[in-house]
């Protein structure tokens, strides 16, 4: 499938990796629908894409809502008449330990509450499910060639302090195998599914953090720097145009290793 002339929907397209993916597709001739929770971010990215001559719409929506998912799929079809690429970048973190112990007594003093668990599952897992489900529905009913892209994370391996996030991201990483297995059984051959699992990426979430902590993180990255959002976008672009990549989740980490040298 060629990027040029295709229609791409990107959730979380108002900043970070999603913004880079949206701009990458627009620069390469795709029509782009940007979905985000923040209207100001949408307005900024849509204007920047318009300024480079791109074809674009922006839709404020909550990916955890079935009604709002239906809204942004419908808007994409109304604007561009078809849908070929759906990239589920919308994601949040609410880090914390499952249990915290009192240093003196050794007893549990605090538990991770549902206020930290549920939003992360809702956005990162349920939101991805709804986006890919409804995008696939449109692609199947429209008969268009398509690619579904759940965004996982290298922390799908299981990151301490991220039981909510890692649990959602490992599920996202598994989706391509389940979805393509289902499509094969149903005789649906026009849609592929490829997950992307970035490592530490130079989004504002990381570049704005304590620089000493950031330096410590980079010690474990073989290339010695953060992955750039544009590099993640380019990988997704390659997945669009290479029809053999399917039913898998690709990592792009710069060689992220455990401190003992074993690559994650």
């Amino acid at each position: 499938m060629q990027i040029k002339g295709s229609v791409a929907l990107i959730t979380g397209g108002g900043n970070g990796i999603g913004e880079a993916v949206a701009k990458f597709f627009a620069k390469h001739g795709a029509k782009v629908a940007i979905v985000d929770m923040e209207q100001k971010n949408i307005d900024r990215v849509v204007k920047e894409i318009k300024d480079i001559g791109g074809e674009v719409i922006g839709i404020q929506a909550n990916v955890t809502s079935e009604a709002e998912t239906a809204k942004f799929i419908k808007a994409t079809l109304e604007a561009f008449g078809k849908l070929n690429i759906a990239v589920s970048c919308a994601g949040i973190i609410r880090d914390g330990m499952m249990l915290s112990l009192d240093k003196e007594t050794g007893k549990v003093s605090r538990k991770m509450g549902l206020d930290k668990w549920q939003p992360v599952i809702d956005v990162n897992l349920t939101g991805t499910f709804l986006t890919l489900r409804d995008a696939a529905e449109a692609m199947i009913n429209g008969g268009w060639e398509g690619l579904l892209v759940p965004i996982s994370s290298v922390n799908k391996v299981g990151q301490v302090g991220q039981i909510n996030y890692s649990s959602a991201k490992v599920a996202d990483a598994l989706m391509p195998k389940i979805i393509i297995g289902e499509f094969l059984m149903r005789g649906i051959r026009n849609i592929r599914c490829v997950g992307i699992a970035p490592g530490y990426t130079a989004t504002t979430m990381l570049t704005g953090m304590n620089q000493d902590v950031l330096k410590a993180l980079l010690k474990d990255v073989h290339i010695g720097r953060l992955v750039e959002p544009d590099e993640v976008a380019a990988l997704i672009g390659h997945c669009v145009e290479n029809g053999a990549i399917n039913a898998t989740t690709l990592e792009i980490t710069g060689g992220l290793c455990y401190p003992n040298g074993i690559a994650k």
């Binding site: 307005d43 894409i49 318009k50 719409i57 922006g58 809204k71 419908k74 109304e78």
Partner: protein, 126 residues
Amino acid sequence: MITVSERKTMKNIFYNDMEFTIVKTGSTWDITRKLPNGDFAVVGAGLFADLPDSDAEARALALIMTIFPVGIKIVGPDVAHPNRVGDLKIVGPDVTHPNFVYWEKDSTSFARETYLIKGTHYANQR
């Protein structure tokens, strides 16, 4: 009522309590939305290439109505944070829920003068 004022290749649309502009640039159309501070934000750009003007305008209006739907969001009870009166739990609306709308502050559906056309509210021209 939707009011449309025509100026060659540009049209202003007042829909609900918002003002949109549809501009034809070459063979495509751009849609902008007027912000409270008077600036304009781009809703969509490069749309409906080579469509006849009337078709493009109809599709632009449909797109606006999809992206900015009229209506209120229903928010369920905040069962996690009941007010207690003795053993009695009093459950109010979940004002911390991301879908909660403060009617006069957040809602894009707060039209000053509205009436019903075929089941949909439209705002009068300002």
